[in-house]
């Protein structure tokens, strides 16, 4: 009955409710039900690869003030259209289980995304070109994971989870001469699959989500949504 109630809660609860469930009152109610499921006090270390999707950075026009009698609207010297390219990266995470169904973790992500700007429509016929640069991106974040024990499979080895959190974004331009910072918030879901039965176990972790980012190098003062997919090897102890 308890388990059934939890399953239903998982489908309707918000992140805040998840946090509430980590309170001592809730945690005290958790029961260690077997070695197949991580439980309170476990620590998880994971590391792997992340793929972040590309996104549009908007367009701009290099405009000059038009003289009277020479046409209408600003004189467009050339136009730009910018995009952040999809990029792979590496991540490492360290988490702690506050309860069998709840863990918190911190992580770091490093990537080398490219930014490209298409330059077109030059008034004096300069050839179209794509200007590029590469960033070194660092994201340090924290997340809360709610493990869907009711949806576990494979004898409890496979455990889906949902997560949400936020972090600090730091972009260094080529040569690291310029640093620009921002924030990111993310939500998503994934799956742990643990091998073995002991307290010390290896496993794999796959997840996908969306990250809302503001600031950093690749923004034109906008907030953008980035799709992320990650796969990691995890160690539980």
């Amino acid at each position: 009955m308890i388990r059934h109630t939890r399953i239903r809660l998982l489908h309707v609860t918000s992140f805040l409710v998840l946090v509430w469930s980590a309170s001592p009152h809730s945690a005290a109610a958790q029961v260690y039900i077997g070695s197949d499921i991580p439980h309170r006090g476990n620590v998880e270390i994971s590391g792997g690869a992340v793929w972040s999707g590309g996104y549009d950075l908007g367009s701009a026009s290099a405009e000059e003030t038009r003289n009277t009698g020479t046409g209408t609207g600003p004189f467009v010297l050339f136009s730009t259209s910018s995009r952040a390219d999809a990029s792979p990266g590496l991540q490492a995470r360290l988490g702690a289980y506050l309860a069998a169904s709840l863990s918190i973790e911190g992580g770091v992500l490093v990537a080398r995304p490219g930014i490209s700007t298409r330059l077109t429509g030059d008034a004096e016929s300069a050839p179209d070109i794509t200007a590029t640069e590469t960033l070194t991106r660092l994201i340090i974040d924290g997340s809360a994971l709610f493990h869907l024990r009711g949806a576990s499979f494979g004898g409890g080895k496979g455990v889906p989870f949902i997560l949400g959190g936020g972090g600090y974004l730091r972009d260094a331009h080529d040569k690291n001469e310029v640093i620009e910072t921002g924030r990111e918030f993310h939500v998503g879901g994934g799956l742990h699959y643990w091998f073995g039965q002991g307290k010390h176990r290896f496993g794999v972790r796959a997840e996908a989500g969306i990250s809302r980012r503001t600031g950093g190098a690749d923004s034109i003062d906008t907030t953008r949504t980035v799709l992320t997919v990650a796969g990691s090897i995890a160690y539980l102890f």
């Binding site: 290099a62 200007a131 640069e133 310029v178």
Partner: protein, 332 residues
């Protein structure tokens, strides 16, 4: 009226040298073997107004307009300058008397010159001792707030000339077309562009980013030093430096343009006074104005190359510079 739309605002009546390490273009003078920036060493700049009006503009209106133009330059947040109206004078604005005089003067011989700025310079320091500005009464003038059809806006031209008075040379941030009688401006993005907008408009009353970068470069305050940055590099063609290439930096965040020139035989350029952030660069030959409006006629300015973009995004650091940009152009 056949005065046409092709009217040079000034050919600064001094031997003008371009100053290396300048964006846009600063006036310079030779001190020994060095070229130094022409600038005022003391503020406020104290000036007189010639007590003579012209059709439609009294000397009092001239004083008010000049004061407004000075104020516009003084309001630039990255620069510190000041001025002071001393009084009216009967002296002409071309007098060499140690006093800075601004006024109307009838110069029908200068049929394409709306106004001009002249200097007396301390040749040991490069400091400006005196700078006079005349507005040519061979042309019709207006001080109307909205502008008047067929009349040249005095405030716009005063703003340009007072830019010279501070030490700024011409900007190439504009496009022109050749017509019978000379060039006409299609568009410009700098008050310091050498050719005026058509009569009747007041488009030239507002400083552009290029102008603001220029005045900040000459008279920088702590805001300029702390908050702006620069891009530097070389323009080359077939491995050799290109002199006089116009390099434009476009800030994709603010969507503003600042230009500079390659000012040495090895093609070195610096564009300063830029807002931090990503920029794209474009280089073009100096073909939207008479070369003599920008450089000493003895210099070998190369205009035989095609406009082109730089294939890297250049990020300007706050309070610093990005160097090493290599712009390789090809002949037309």
């Amino acid at each position: 009226m056949t005065r046409g739309a092709v009217l040079f605002l000034t050919g600064a009546l001094v031997a003008v040298f371009s100053v290396p390490t300048a964006a846009y273009l600063k006036l310079g003078t030779r001190v020994g073997t060095r070229t130094v920036t022409l600038k005022w060493s003391q503020f406020p700049i104290r000036y007189f107004i010639t007590d003579r009006g012209t059709t439609g503009v009294t000397s009092t209106q001239l004083r008010q307009t000049v004061q407004t133009a000075f104020s516009t330059w003084e309001a630039v947040p990255t620069s510190t300058t000041s001025s002071e109206f001393v009084g009216f004078t009967l002296a002409n604005p071309s007098s060499r008397d140690g006093a800075t005089v601004i006024g109307f003067q009838n110069r029908p011989d200068l049929e394409r010159t709306l106004g001009a700025t002249s200097f007396i310079v301390d040749t040991t320091t490069g400091a400006i001792v005196e700078s006079d500005i005349f507005f040519n009464t061979a042309f019709p003038w207006s001080v109307s707030a909205q502008g008047e059809t067929g009349l040249f806006d005095l405030e716009s031209i005063a703003l340009h000339e007072i830019g010279h008075l501070h030490g700024l040379a011409h900007s190439a941030m504009g496009e022109t077309e050749l017509r019978a009688g000379g060039r006409r401006v299609i568009a410009a993005e700098a008050v310091m562009f050498p050719i005026a907008f058509s009569a009747g408009t007041i488009l030239g009353r507002t400083l552009k980013t290029d102008d603001i970068a220029g005045i900040g470069d000459i008279y920088p305050n702590s805001t300029y030093t702390r908050n702006t940055g620069s891009i530097s590099g070389k323009v080359t063609k077939n491995g050799a430096g290109v002199l006089g290439a116009h390099v434009i930096a476009f800030d994709m965040r603010t969507q503003t343009l600042v230009g500079g020139f390659s000012l040495s035989e090895d093609g070195t350029f610096v564009i300063a006074g830029l807002d931090p952030g990503p920029h794209v660069l474009r280089v073009e030959p100096l073909d939207d104005g008479d070369i003599e409006s920008f450089f000493d006629a003895t210099l070998n300015i190369d205009v035989n190359f095609q406009p082109q973009f730089y294939d890297k995004i250049v990020v300007v650091p706050k309070g610093g510079g990005t160097s090493g940009v290599e712009l390789n152009v090809v002949a037309k």
